[in-house]
Symmetry: C2
Subunit: 218 residues, 2 copies
Amino acid sequence: MAGTSRTRVQHFAVSLDGFGTGVGLSREAPFGHAGHKLHEWMFATRWGRQMFGQEGGTRGIDDALVRQFSHGIGAEIMGAGKFGPPGWHEDPDWTGWWGANPPFHTPVFVLTHHPRPPLEMEGGTTFHFLDAAPAEALAAARDAAGGMDVRIGGGPSMVRDFVAAGLVDHMHIVVVPVLLGRGVRLWDGMESLEDRYDIEMVASLSGVMHVMLARTGG
Amino acid sequence: MAGTSRTRVQHFAVSLDGFGTGVGLSREAPFGHAGHKLHEWMFATRWGRQMFGQEGGTRGIDDALVRQFSHGIGAEIMGAGKFGPPGWHEDPDWTGWWGANPPFHTPVFVLTHHPRPPLEMEGGTTFHFLDAAPAEALAAARDAAGGMDVRIGGGPSMVRDFVAAGLVDHMHIVVVPVLLGRGVRLWDGMESLEDRYDIEMVASLSGVMHVMLARTGG
């Protein structure tokens, strides 16, 4: 089944100027000065509201596309900066941003220079902590995914690392019409990516632009 | 009439990673390593083909939007880097990239630290060379525009300067699905621009994304 397992970035939001996160990240501000600007569109969808136990929400293009988040995914790999605020590795009680029942429901491999024992949460999410290069982390995630796809979870610098290593099959990037001015850029180091990926863009009435990058022939 | 004269950036193309021009600009490569990548979509339009005396071309959204280039425009301001390759000011015979009959057909104010006498071309284009700050250049262009709009012609760094000075009313930016990786960025220094501009995005079937930024209440 390994041959059919794909690696996918799902609805990764960036500003019009290309930043995937702001500056000044902290426990109170997971995206720094970006605040909620990059994700308001997602919290307006039915799927986004359900994540927080809320009713209502839109059922259009945005909602349909964010639902790809879990379809066919057997594991995620995320960067250390996604799992917690700067310095989380010094807090033995830190279990991520997502409460007792995180929205992943699969094994999640957290890339960190400070590994710790696996952390089993409610709902099927188990965090594994790995000090590993992208290819090695992907091998571990593929093993755990049982033939299903592996989500490349972000943040921006780990996505760049995996793209640079040629390990990403599909990216769904959401360009939000805000300008952050500062932060961590997603697109750096991807010169001529259009030679290796088919790129499609579609605007949603919500105001965001969905960019799909699919590895050519993949 | 001055109160109704607006300043407009028209179909300024950037890569998905935000570069308005590449690196290695020269007489043979006006956009450096970007080659024609940023403008192929435009040369596919009927308007773009007519510019080069060619037949055919598309008549869709891209064509309709590029035709805004000249409607209601009475003058243009451009940066030195748009008028010629690096060092053009040392060549007294340099008259721009556009041949005897440039596509502007209005006064054009070229910002340069090396002014020279005005250059009258065929078809109504006269190049004026100014060593001036953005506000001063805009005053001169407004005088010449006779109550019509002033085009902010680029390149990317002069657009940024005019935006930073609060002098731009409307921007039509075209995001092209290529990644240049290197060059001059358009969006730098525009943090929180969404607080001052209404931003709309629409995808064209040609594959590019049109981004309209209109000064709020303007």
